[in-house]
Amino acid sequence: MKNGFIGLFAAGAMVALSSTTALATTQVHFWHAFSPDIKLGKVLARYAQEFNASQDDYEIVLTYKGTYDDTINATIAAVRAGKQPAIAQVHGPAVPTLIFSDAVVPVDTVMADAGYTIDWERFIEPVMAMYQFEGNQMAMPFNTSTPLMWYNADAFEKAGIAEVPASWDDLDAAARKLKDAGYECPVTSSWQEWIVLKNYTFIEDQPFASKANGMQGPDAELTFNKTRFVDHLDRIQGWIKDGLYEYQGRQWTGAHQAFYNQRCAVLLESSAGYGGISQNAKFDFSATLLPVEADNDTPRNSFIGGAGLFLMKGLDKPVYDGAAAFFNFLASPEMQFDWHRNSGYVPITVDAYELAKEKGYYDEFPHQELAIKQLMREPSDNTRGIRLGYMVQVDEIINEELENVWSMKKSAQEAADDMVRRGNPLLNRFAKTIE
């Protein structure tokens, strides 16, 4: 009886003790779009675990919210209900919505308030530029990718292509050789609005929209229908006519399948496509930089994809301190190198890149270095990013009109003009919602 009482007392004291430690830990909620069933989700969970184990003050609580769209919608609804998470993972097209909103706090301010001195100059420029607004760093880049040209090296050998194409003219010649060697689809692309259009305008230093693609203000207009992009579109239409290019859908699945089963020999696709390609391609494959125009002596940086981490407004200081500590943890060169290796995304700091080089990582995986090299080219006003409203709808319009070119319903110029005619009213409407 006596022992029982003491036991009970001890148990009670234990509970009381453990609950006080629980109270002392500040929970930092992080909503993201990486399914816990896939590798990216598992890597992220490991980071949260490592961070939580490394200190006692903060606990990162991960919640998988579904797709990128689900995550941003859940975040918007939560902000309106006053139940916002501290950290939200937000993908490219939704970034302007948050940057122009009143719902976020700048990351650099929060980091400084928490006592971290961050040398933002050591971050990769076009990656950071996407999230810069009125002198502030609005989000922490997280998963960043950029397109590359993946190719079937066996097919190149079979077709007698000695040198890997570097210009679009080279690719044209290579595509014809591949066709002659029996490849039904020499070239294809995934995410066409990103790769065929936006990345072309970046690398060739052509404007996508006025006001530096909206980076200098939301009241911008699409202008790519008056640039070299139209000739590029016309070239690909010609390729389709000659059977040198096949359209495999708007996203990545079709293009990947066509590449895996060796129907298509060249795949223009994100650097993050490496995971799928390395698992499924049963042939010798490799990657190189995206092609440039033969007369382009200073190709610019390519355009990024992926998502950044935003901090939502209206929470207590300790929560922000916790988020800042976690960001500081994530941004360390060692963590960025780990992320680079495990996710296929590019590291966001120059230090992490140098660490990866130093460790000889690129000797083993040379194509992993391509994406970052492509991003470290000197940017211009045309290549610091794209910050336009209702981008989801604009992208849909671009996709529809590109399909009209591929199906020969419209000429390159007609389709480009229609993209601009249909897209500009949307930009205009969005601009009105911003004072």
């Binding site: 941003i72 918007i76 909103s101 009143d102 859908g249 079709g254 529809e400 009109e401 249909r422 919602t433």
Partner: protein, 297 residues
């Protein structure tokens, strides 16, 4: 007729309202409130956080109605809805007639036919996409093998056929259940009497079965049209994303895309009002012109 004239009258007003209250509350909270919000929203331009709400009058509607693409969407929606409803109903009716001959009591077989109804639209879409995607679809490759130029990625007609098939496939099982139950309700004696009088199977179908099923058919017509107009965005999202070139950009998909992916709430709300108006008009027309020919027995 006499049944309709019998009126049960409650004494007092409190009890009937009290009994109605739960249903009315559900209606008000889950239907009238959001619908009301939607109507208000349609006249505003706002950021997703509602920090800025600009009253724009009928601008959202004007933008829609002056866009040739929107009118094309209306046309595409009518084609899609008609094709889906017709396919789903005809297939279900044919299956029900065939099943009526063999399945008299088998619960198991009847339940099996209902399965596809339980599949979420987006999943149904993915299933059909996996079968018919030109790059990796098993059946698409078979079609190519037969020399048929099948490419739903670039051919608008092929894409439409694909989403109609996916949408109708899901709805066939729902329709089947009703048709099958309806067929089982038809007295055998009527059919036998007609057979003795020399009516062949087609004649019996036309003059006895179809009139006796008219109430079921009308109900299904209304339900299928509503399904095709409202519940199919998941299929389009999974299979074609409205492509190629807008050939499958049905109205409800556009509402979903603009509202839930682009956060363009004003336009999305205006579009849902237009969509709602179209469906109200269609339902009214159905009741006005089709219901006349319905025999409720």
């Amino acid at each position: 007729m006499s049944g309709r004239d019998k009126k049960v009258v409650f004494k007092g007003r409190v009890l009937p309202w009290l009994l109605l209250a739960p249903q009315l509350v559900v209606l008000a909270v889950f239907f009238f409130w959001p619908a009301g919000e939607g109507i208000v929203q349609a006249f505003f331009l706002s950021d997703p956080f509602f920090n800025t709400m600009i009253f724009v009058g009928f601008d959202n509607f004007r933008d829609l109605l002056t866009s040739p693409e929107y009118w094309d969407s209306i046309r595409v929606t009518l084609v899609f809805s008609l094709a889906t409803t017709a396919t789903a109903m005809i297939m279900a009716f044919a299956l029900a007639v065939a099943a009526d001959r063999v399945l008299h009591g088998s619960m198991v077989l009847r339940s099996l036919v209902i399965w596809p109804y339980a599949v979420a639209p987006a999943i149904a879409g993915m299933l059909w996409l996996f079968l018919f995607h030109p790059a990796f679809g098993v059946l698409a490759l078979a079609l190519r093998g037969l020399g048929i130029d099948w490419d739903p990625l670039l051919d608008g007609t092929d894409a439409m056929v694909l989403i109609v098939a996916a949408a109708a496939w899901k709805q066939v099982s729902y329709n089947f259940v009703f048709f099958f139950a309806g067929l089982q309700m038809i007295p055998r004696s009527l059919i036998e009497a007609a057979a003795i009088d020399g009516a062949g199977p087609m004649r019996r179908l036309r003059d006895i079965v179809l009139p006796l099923l008219s109430a079921t058919t009308f109900f299904l017509l209304v339900m299928n049209v509503i399904y095709a107009f409202f519940d199919t965005f998941g299929i389009v999202d999974a299979v074609t994303e409205g492509g190629p070139g807008g050939a499958t950009r049905i109205l409800v998909y556009k509402v979903y895309k603009d509202g839930f992916q682009a956060q363009d709430y004003g336009s999305s709300a205006a579009q849902s009002i237009v969509l709602m108006a179209i469906v109200i008009v269609l339902t009214f027309l159905q009741f006005r012109y089709v219901e006349r020919r319905v025999n409720y027995a």
